[in-house]
């Protein structure tokens, strides 16, 4: 098993560089990773009401899966394998919320190794040319998304090499990386953090919760996603998204920052 071999490292105290140099153009996920849901031809006749996050809908005779809600739990595939397939590639983050909804017969927005690599090549130069300051805000997450965002700073992902830095104050930030449902108790604090961030500012919503409320939906305690509180520029689906997906989302956000800054 190659991944197992990957993990059997050289001497931990003298192992040199362990950073994954091909982070986005070589898949890191294992075969069994539950990354996205594909709609199969059999979905035409199927309606499965059991989805815990309400990601599966039927509109005008067509079945749709909202990957911005999906928990990647795999229950739909178990209930109706002719209609739904869980796949290991991860769902590509998107600028428009609607792009995360797959329609039967339509494209599945999976990040293929090639397009992630292309995106990286196209942008890293620019990102490296400047530094990108990120302020992370937990707006009511389960902390799963925080675990993966923290992983970005470990030696394997090492986001600092792309010029990406986590900063302590919104006043120093270009990007707000927001997780969680948009909790009622945090609404004012999130709004104030947003206001304190200098222009131009970009908000990246990380995880199913931040995209849509995820399993928590919209309730007395949840705004049903952070877009209910502040404007969102990039949506990163997943529950939680893997570190590469968060990085991809940040790179998408760079587009929004760069032109304004150079003008």
């Amino acid at each position: 098993m190659t991944r197992a071999r990957d993990r059997r490292q050289r001497d931990i105290l003298h192992n040199g560089v362990e950073t994954d140099r091909r982070l986005l153009d070589r898949p890191r996920y294992s075969e069994g990773f539950r990354g996205t849901v594909a709609l199969l031809p059999g979905a035409a006749g199927v309606s499965w009401p059991g989805c815990a996050s309400g990601a599966i809908r039927r509109e005008g005779g067509k079945v749709t899966v909202d990957l911005g809600r999906c928990l990647m739990c795999g229950r739909c595939q178990e209930a109706a394998p002719e209609a739904f397939a869980i796949e290991s590639g991860w769902t590509r983050p998107a600028r428009r919320r609607g792009d995360l909804v797959t329609v039967q017969g339509g494209d599945v927005p999976v990040a293929s190794a090639q397009d992630a690599g292309a995106l990286l090549l196209e942008k890293v130069g620019r990102v490296l040319g400047r530094s990108l300051a990120i302020r992370e805000v937990d707006a009511g997450s389960c902390n799963g998304c925080e675990v993966e965002i923290s992983a970005l700073s470990n030696p394997v992902y090492d986001v600092e090499r792309f010029g990406v830095r986590f900063v302590a104050s919104p006043r120093h930030a270009d990007v707000l990386l927001v997780t969680g449902v948009g909790a009622t108790n945090l609404e004012d604090a999130l709004r104030r953090t947003y206001d304190a961030t200098p222009h131009p500012k970009v908000v990246v919503a990380v995880g199913a919760c931040a995209c849509s409320g995820g399993i928590f939906g919209e309730t007395y305690a949840s705004a049903g996603g952070v877009a209910g509180i502040v404007p969102v520029d990039v949506y990163v689906p997943g529950c939680p998204p893997r570190p590469e997906a968060v990085l991809y989302g940040i790179l998408l956000a760079v587009d929004r920052v760069a032109p304004q800054k150079t003008s």
């Binding site: 890191r28 294992s30 059991g50 389960c142 799963g144 945090l186 004012d188 939680p240």
Partner: protein, 546 residues
Amino acid sequence: MTAPAVRLERLRGELAGRASSVSVKHGNEAHVEAELLDLPAICERVRDSCGGRLAMVACSDERRTKGRYVLRYVFDMVGVDLFVVLSAGVDPAEPSFPSIASLFPAATRYEREVRDMFGLVAAGSPDPRPMVLHDRWPDGAHPLRKDFAIGTRPGGTDARGYEFMEVAGDGVSEIPVGPVHAGVIEPGHFRFSVLGESIVNLETRLFYAHRGVEKLAEGMTLDQALLLSERISGDEAVANSTAFCQAIERAAGAEAPRRATETRAICAELERIYNHIGTLAGLTLDAGFAYGASRLLLLKERVMSLNEDFTGSRLLFGVNRLGGVGVDALLVAGEVSETVSAVLEDFRKVVEAIRDESSVIDRLSGTGTIAPGLAFELGLQGIVARSSGVDVDTRRDHPYGAYGLLRVDKHHDTRRQATEFGVKLAKARGDVLARFDSRVDEVEGSAEIIDQLLVKMGGDGTLTVPVAGEMLEPFASALGYAESHRGRTLHWVVIGDDRDSLLRYKVRTASFANWPAIEVAVLNDIVADFPLINKSLDLSYAANDL
């Protein structure tokens, strides 16, 4: 007579004439009903004469079926595998109950929670401030009442304000921090009162990440609630979902197959390993040794990628199913065993290198001390309690699943080891270093448990037993519990009319029990040590806030 039976007899004797007779459910739950006003006196007896430690207070709105609210006080009987559940009804016309905070300091937070979520007031409570619901919430709205619609949005803005305790005196100043913090961490507010650099008081304000978990569960099917339980606190997904599944299985009178309990335990120990390594890395980083921290983070990453190979999720989401598990540890036994032993070998080297750095150890030593007596009194759980000499571990005290088959606590294997362990516990100093050392020991312990389990994996390969339909009587209830890397998570479920829903899902995590620890741990330390102390306690905001 077995030890629990002896304790049960004592309980029966103590409560005779004061409460209903004692009925035992699910093997280790002793249920007693009492009159509301007798509660404080009875709670005191359960504590003083029967060795009860307050484990949880759970309220439920049973107006539809019983015409009243019901409060349940759950006690953990120290030293035996027994819980006592003392219940009393509250008349909706008189929405008040006697506070027991003067007997159990830990009761205060439950009483505040009951006030916010059900609108029942604890008479005589030392702290009647709102807790779960923040300023914008109007009076009279109580989310866990059955007639509260889950979609109700509060209207106002910060109208009410919150009264922090004020520390007055020459030279005392206040430092407010949060709720949005400087690092990649969860939200919470800390208000320090400092004299120069020394912290003379710390008040925490939490529940910023309140997502309405318990209310949401009431509208879900049992399988959906299982997915929700994994998301109470993402890094404790296995522990919380195990506690939930066990509660449902107990309510149904079902038992998960052996292979399932073994797989659950292996995943729970992997969860403990990756999180403890992460916390040790954080401590090492905060103490200024970035190299040691980065080595530990590499090891954490290796365990998380093993998690993914094994379960399809780096955070071990999706392991549990009602009645068993969705993954089979036997299929990946070789890879798990190989990776865990390789990680352990490297872990020892890194820890040795960290311990060689006197600048790190000096920072940890004597910082953030929690005295043993206080740790017991506050009802602290898990590694924080153990590092202050309080000997609690759910895996041993209330053996569940595969832990019943195991030597969980290798220290208790022989008399000599038991004595050594006792001495070690007695020496536990309750400072950041003690918690650092305990975490290191527990990583070793978890690796050994995984080893033991992999060697004797048994059963016929069945991964789940059915838990549904007729097995689940409407209103059947049960406790479920597990020891996460933070300590005991205790869940209580009541099955709904349609046998596939919950009338009530009460969750008491180790973090809820342990948060008060931080306010005492920082006293007389300097502000600059706060991040270190905070990290060493490893408290989850999400698990507390629900």
